[in-house]
């Protein structure tokens, strides 16, 4: 398979502080990449650089005419804006049939939600709506910045199972940031450990070793393990 993304010596600085330092990696078509790393490691900045919405130095090469969708981190619609769910989808000029198909696909079978105000739906419903919204114009790549884990999305299905299921249906490349290491095994073809520099990259089973995790999280990893005792 061909590379959909080639990153070479990517550097991002804000006011002289290096946020990303010399990152290089490739991603093949239809492969899922999960990015892990401690707080302040530059994970979100990496996604924004890949989107081209922050200034960077170095090379980011997507395949020609690639279509990218993005779900930002901790994004909740302002409650005071009277925007209906349907109108939110209209920003993408989607036909009603398409909207309903995607709502179904993310497990929202009651279409009366379209008439509801976007600021009034539950956090779980909103996350499903965002996934439908970002996939409705058939992107090749989905960039997802930290789906809120532990959020009640309704039913047994977690947001990650949902992504894994949809990913198989539409054959999509997903790049996802998470704090939850268990997600890596569920979704990732490759894992990228980031702490300003690239700490490790590769198949999850081979890459996420005790040493690489220690290198990535430092002292934090002890806390992490302790939590699971």
């Amino acid at each position: 398979m061909n590379n959909i993304l080639e990153v070479e010596n990517l550097n991002v600085s804000f006011n002289g502080d290096k946020v990303l330092d010399g990152l290089s990696f490739n991603l093949k078509e239809k492969e899922n990449l999960v990015i892990v790393g401690p707080n302040g490691a530059g994970k979100t900045v990496l996604l924004k650089a890949l989107l081209g919405i922050v200034p960077f130095k170095g090379g980011i090469k997507w395949t020609k005419d690639v279509k990218i969708s993005y779900v930002p981190q901790k994004f909740f619609p302002a409650k005071e804006i009277p925007l209906s769910v349907e109108e939110f989808f209209n920003f993408k000029h989607a036909a009603v049939k398409e909207i309903e198909r995607w709502l179904k696909s993310v497990g929202l079978n009651d279409f009366s939600i379209l008439k509801k105000r976007l600021g009034k739906v539950s956090a779980g419903q909103f996350q499903r709506i965002m996934i439908a919204w970002s996939l409705i114009d058939k992107p090749d790549v989905l960039l997802f910045d930290e789906p809120t884990s532990g959020i009640d999305v309704g039913g047994e299905e977690t947001i990650y199972n949902l992504l894994a299921r949809i990913e198989k249906e539409v054959n999509l490349t997903i790049i996802l940031i998470t704090h939850d290491l268990s997600v890596v095994y569920k979704l990732a073809d490759n894992v990228l450990c980031l702490n300003k520099k690239l700490i490790c990259y590769g198949l999850p089973q081979q890459t996420l070793t005790a040493e690489s995790l220690h290198q990535l999280y430092g002292e934090e990893i002890n806390i992490y393990k302790h939590d699971h005792d």
């Binding site: 969708s69 779900v71 925007l83």
Partner: protein, 258 residues
């Protein structure tokens, strides 16, 4: 003050169009939490109004000139500094006010501050209509993009929306409506004309569409009723228009939707 029937018709038409556009654009401003920018820009227009009165040219043209300079300064400061838009607007608005008070006499100051719709002529009415239609067309175009950018600037940018460009267009349109509104309510009250109708509309609207069009209708009705009350009672039109819209706001509270 008396006015002829044709003057009354002109002022009525200008009021309805400008009020409607102010309510419509105002709905975007309120959604963007920039409700007080209209107020501040009303004052930025004052030195232009002052110079226009001094040299006997149309006050709308004078207002547009200083608004254009003021907005350009605000926008440039915004890109050069890390100050909030509000602080920058505050700086420019205070300086403008100082200039206006230096130039204007007491009587002219009153006209500039609360407006005088009876002075609207045929040509001015026509120009107002054309500008209002242009504003309506532009705002309708930029509305969804600006709302998306309000929800999340990153999300909007990922959709290849040039947020800075739209911010600039938006500010310019606000400048034009403020300049037009100076004739209707004066610079002191133009801020109310862009805030109160959307605030009322917000109370009973469930969708963006209902909200923005209701803002437009309430703005137009406020001006219509306000100018008619002025014709009958003789109290200054500007303040009456604002009080009318405030009355509609109070009524809207009854029909509030959660």
């Amino acid at each position: 003050m008396t006015m002829t029937d044709s003057q009354f018709i002109f002022s009525l038409i200008t009021g309805i169009f400008v009020g409607g556009a102010a309510g419509y654009l105002g709905s975007l401003m309120v959604a963007k939490r920039m409700a007080l920018v209209g107020d501040a820009l009303g004052h930025v227009a004052l030195p232009g109004v002052a110079l226009a009165l001094l040299y006997n040219i149309n006050v709308v043209i004078g207002a547009l000139a200083t608004l254009f300079i003021g907005i350009l300064l605000i926008w440039l400061f915004k890109t050069k500094t890390e100050l909030y838009m509000e602080a920058l607007v505050g700086v420019v608005f205070a300086v403008s006010l100082a200039f206006a008070f230096l130039i204007l006499s007491h009587e002219e100051l009153e006209e500039a501050l609360i407006g005088d719709i009876t002075k609207v002529g045929g040509w001015e009415t026509l120009i107002s209509i054309v500008l209002v239609l242009a504003i309506f067309y532009i705002v309708r175009k930029i509305f969804p993009k600006m709302i998306l950018a309000t929800l999340s600037e990153d999300l909007a940018m990922s959709q290849k929306i040039n947020v800075r460009k739209y911010d600039f267009i938006y500010l310019m349109v606000v400048g034009i409506i403020v300049a037009l509104g100076i004739k209707v309510t004066g610079s002191l009250l133009i801020g109310a004309l862009v805030v109160i109708p959307p605030a009322a509309a917000r109370n009973f609207s469930r969708t963006l569409r209902q909200y923005s069009y209701a803002g437009m209708v309430i703005g137009a009705i406020s001006c219509l009723l306000g100018i008619m009350i002025y014709k009958i009672v003789g109290l200054p039109a500007g303040p009456i228009i604002i009080l009318t819209s405030a009355a509609i706001f109070l009524i809207s509270l009854i029909f509030r939707r959660k």
